[in-house]
Amino acid sequence: MVEISMTVNGKPVTAEVEPRTLLVTFLREQLGLTGTHVGCDTSQCGACNVHVDGVLAKSCTMLAVEADGAEVVTIEGMAAPDGTLGVVQQAFQDHHGLQCGFCTPGMVMSAAALLKENPDPSEEEIRAFLEGNLCRCTGYHNIVKAVRAAAEAMG
């Protein structure tokens, strides 16, 4: 077992993990942050996306020990402390950008990362950026709309 410490959604966390523990497993099983999902085992679907030190990361593709000392933000950290949805989250609701909700946390984390690096993306740029996130429900149409709307709201 290895001891690791990190900040998750603004709170300091210290825990012992097996060296082979994936970051997503650590978040879900040890911290109980089950909003981050696992949809595949080949780093394709993006349901497990989180931010590690401000960078978009597939938490199924890194070990928990690799996040030692890092600042991790998950979907649970995206709303305001009083529960008010963040701009991207609100845009997803306003534009029906989710159905079953399973890919949604990863989509929101990706969309937020995109808007950070490109505050005014075109539809084509949004579609290209989201190619690492699979959704089987929405056909992406309303997700793209939601991301565009979030960009405009952040203006």
Binding site: E18, R20, R28, E29, L33, T34, G35, T36, H37, V38, G39, C40, D41, T42, Q44, C45, A47, T74, I75, E76, M78, A79, G83, L85, Q89, F92, Q93, D94, H96, L98, Q99, C100, G101, F102, C103, T104, P105, V108, E123, E124, I126, R127, A128, L130, E131, N133, L134, C135, R136, C137, T138, G139, Y140, H141, N142, I143, V144
Partner: protein, 791 residues
Amino acid sequence: MPKDHGIGAPIRRREDLRFLTGSGRYTDDINLPGQAYVRFLRSDVAHGRIKRLDTSAAAAMDGVIRVFTARDFENVGGLPCGWQITSRDGNPMAEPKHPIMAEGKVRHVGEIIAAVIAETPGQAQDAVEAIEVEIEELPAVIDMAAALEEGAPKVHDDLPSNLCFDWGLVEENREKVDEAIRNAPHVVSLELVNQRLAPNAMEPRVAIGAYDKATDEHTLYTTSQNPHVIRLLMGAFVLGIPEHKLRVVAPDVGGGFGSKIFHYAEEAFCTYAAKVVGRPVKWTSSRSEAFMSDAQGRDHVTKIELALDEEGHFLALRTHTLANMGAYLSTFAPAVPTWLHGTLMAGTYRTPLIYVNVKAVFTNTVPVDAYRGAGRPEATFQLERVIDKAARELGMDPVEIRRKNFINPDQFPYETPVALVYDTGNYHATLEKLEELADFGGFEARRQESAARGRLRGLGVNCYIEACGIAPSNLVGQLGARAGLYDSATVRVNPTGSITVHTGVHSHGQSHETTFPQVIAEMIGIPEDQIEIVHGDTANSPMGMGTYGSRSIAVGGSAMVRATEKIIAKAKKIAAHLLEASEGDIELKDGKFTVKGTDREVAWADVTLAAYVPHNYPLDELEPGLEETSFYDPANFTFPSGAYACEVEVDPETGKVEVCSFVAVDDFGNVINPMVVDGQVHGGLAQGIGQALLEQCVYDENGQLVTASYMDYAMPRADDLPSFTVDHSCQTPCTHNPLGVKGCGEAGAIGSPPTIVNAVIDALQRGGIRVDHIDMPLTPARVWSAIRAAS
């Protein structure tokens, strides 16, 4: 101005709040105290005899609680099939046992051979890898035609052949159809493959079994579209657990698309093993496991022949289809290529004579069952492809040949030659709307613009129909269903007037928690936020058949309406008492009961409170309380229909297809929440376009599943798809359910594949490349090869 309340309002979804904040509760988010973990040893060969299975080393490993093999399930039933098909010769279909674990022989890659339960998932996996298994590999049958040849290796040794059934619709018409085709001036034929697909709900399946020794009660948490069906099948037919001792919970479920209808071995295993080991047992599928254990979809090979007269009127239609069942019969597999496929071969047209033959075949592949559309996409694809080819051969416009053969609006109810009665529709109206939205008039200019860039542009159309809202129980019983297909709702009015609806259908993306309250809000006149929808737990919802076949609102919603009508009738009696008026004079509007023609009124919540605090109450005539249940069994299927068009560009140098635009005009009857309906169509379109251009399960000749991960199975991504134009303003309300609704979940997946393929063939033909057909998926390699072969 759109409505902001009630039926027809595009109100935002309440379920989004939990999904957007990571607070959803999917099955894998549940962990029970003392839980152990199971991992399965699955066959890595498609067909073979298990010569030796030694689990002793695995059993001795750290953390291992117990190892299971088929021997542990000798007193347990096989997984049942819920639909029996009768062959043309009157014999029932071949129905081999579908064991929980392979008994002596493995019949597809991924079949379970053994299971290890351990303290952690890692320990269970380590131990699975220590199981020694020796399998004598046998020749595998993969190709359906080869599987039916004399002397082919048999998937099931105790059956006479690999034929499951040989079915005809309508057998009495066969000779008449043959004769009409023989004598017709034009016969257009096509041979086509509707390839095998993996449903790929983003949430992999999960099952957690638990057993309470004190009460002798079993609980199964599972990723299911229909928990009651799982309780019935697993309790009564597999494990012999009486239903009052078995609870099945399907909490938030991350998409289904059919694949989570069926009862799977892992569910029965976890339920059974939890009692044996005395601890909850959890299984979480990996995506790789999902590819080889979730039922797959489609997989038909068809020859279709359409006979026409000189003017292009359809005279007769004949199809011969081979339908792959895989190695075992999944829960509803036999219904898909038969009653959900053959019955749709009339389409939206007046073809007077139709004969459909389907031979279902066992192969050494993962079982096949319903996947979004289930049978109807296969029917639509054949019909709409052959019509396009007929238009080309007869020199007619593909839109006009369709219009010429449409069932006209004054012909409803319309009885087809393949056993359905369409209650209503207006196919001309949807096609006209399509012509307007898709700007057919501007196509030629766009084509020239594409040509200037070296691209071939094509326009494809399709007019589909589907049978949804399944289904009348007495009818499906005659057709072989071993279940009823009603649904249910309990409407429980709480003392202060809020309402909890317990429904037998299940939402796994369909938005019931938002849309169902809109219906009751409309009926009673109270705000939606006073109404809660409860689903997904056999312990707190009435027996219902669940969600598939676009049936939730048409059947489950109708049950809710009926129960609410009973509530309103009783509440009016109470109101009449409180207002000292005659019951017949009471009206309910905007959450108030009034006496007709007076200003006397009593609020909804005062009436509901009186029902539970019956101090001033007609107790001699009326029971206290306000709670009603209805079971609704539909009188007929519903028949959504529509007209789709798309434009594609083909790069003749690479064969790459780009979808430039897609317009879907659907007639869903009345619409409860247009925003949700748009979303359902978008998702269906993406799956259908995925089928047309990208997706395919590929088995090699040995039965190895080559496409068992997202590295190899091409899922549609955001940058593969265009934005869609969808419209559902053409509405012919269903005539036989109280809401006039038809269902919208599958339309997009049914209507889009032939639209895309028609557009690609159109692009090639307009470019002077004589290609009649390319099998899906239309990958660059296939399109490029077809172009090369033709030139």
